[in-house]
């Protein structure tokens, strides 16, 4: 899907040791592979984002495997303990092989 738009929300800064919440959202139809085309009577092939990965300073900290039962425009929220300043890299992998990425900064005082 060419028009998948990733969005990420997290605090700009955090105190050392604080647990921060990260919220992510990406626009994607998440075609489950269960729907039937009413005109042809054939099943619409599955096209979903099957993998979400969050890495902090190059190290994977959280990941999720998604199946057909994840809603369209998948939302994902999780926590991370702030230990050092750095860069988040979020990666979504599509069934068709495309990869969507987004980065965000976190400053730790």
């Amino acid at each position: 899907m060419a028009n998948a738009k990733p969005r990420v929300k997290l605090p700009k800064s955090a105190a050392k040791g604080e647990i921060v919440q990260i919220k992510t959202l990406i626009s994607h139809k998440m075609e489950s592979g269960q729907r039937v085309d009413s005109k042809t009577g054939e099943k619409i092939p599955r096209q979903i984002i099957n993998k979400f990965v969050c890495a902090f300073n190059g190290k994977e900290v959280f990941s999720a495997d998604w199946h057909g039962a994840v809603s369209a425009n998948p939302y994902m929220s999780f926590y991370l303990k702030a230990t050092e300043s750095g860069t988040f890299e979020f990666t979504w992998t599509d069934d068709d092989g495309s990869v969507y990425t987004k980065t965000a900064e976190l400053a730790v005082q």
Binding site: H67, V70, F78
Partner: protein
Amino acid sequence: MTISKATETPSRRQVLITLATGSFALATITALPRWAKADTAAVDAATKELIGDATPSEGRITLDLPQIAENGNTVPLTVEVDSPMSEADYCKAVHVFAEGNPLPNVASFRFTPACGQAFASTRIRLAKTQNVIAVAEMSNGSVYTAKAEVKVTIGGCGG
């Protein structure tokens, strides 16, 4: 002297009521256990594939889902595991399954000690009223499970 008619011969109304309740009871007995069994078997098979033969015990998981979901296309799901999330003892993964969906797997969340808290929240599709099951894998090999029932008004699989 008056004798009520009903004691002598059953009235038409009584016969109809007995027939109706009897056949309804019979229908529910034959219909219910069959579908419940098939669904849990699919979830059991999917669980085995992901975590192996470990037998899960109850507890430590908070599985938060609405009791009634009006729209099965987006049902908010939050799962939290009670774990210190230290290098020595943390929750490795949480797998979510739906008993009544065409495919039992929903999602798997993989945590690291850097998370600080084993918490994940997303939105899922549910085809009909059913049980949603969460299975948590801890770093020491123990496995926990939790279950929540969701009543779905409009199914979310586009069937």
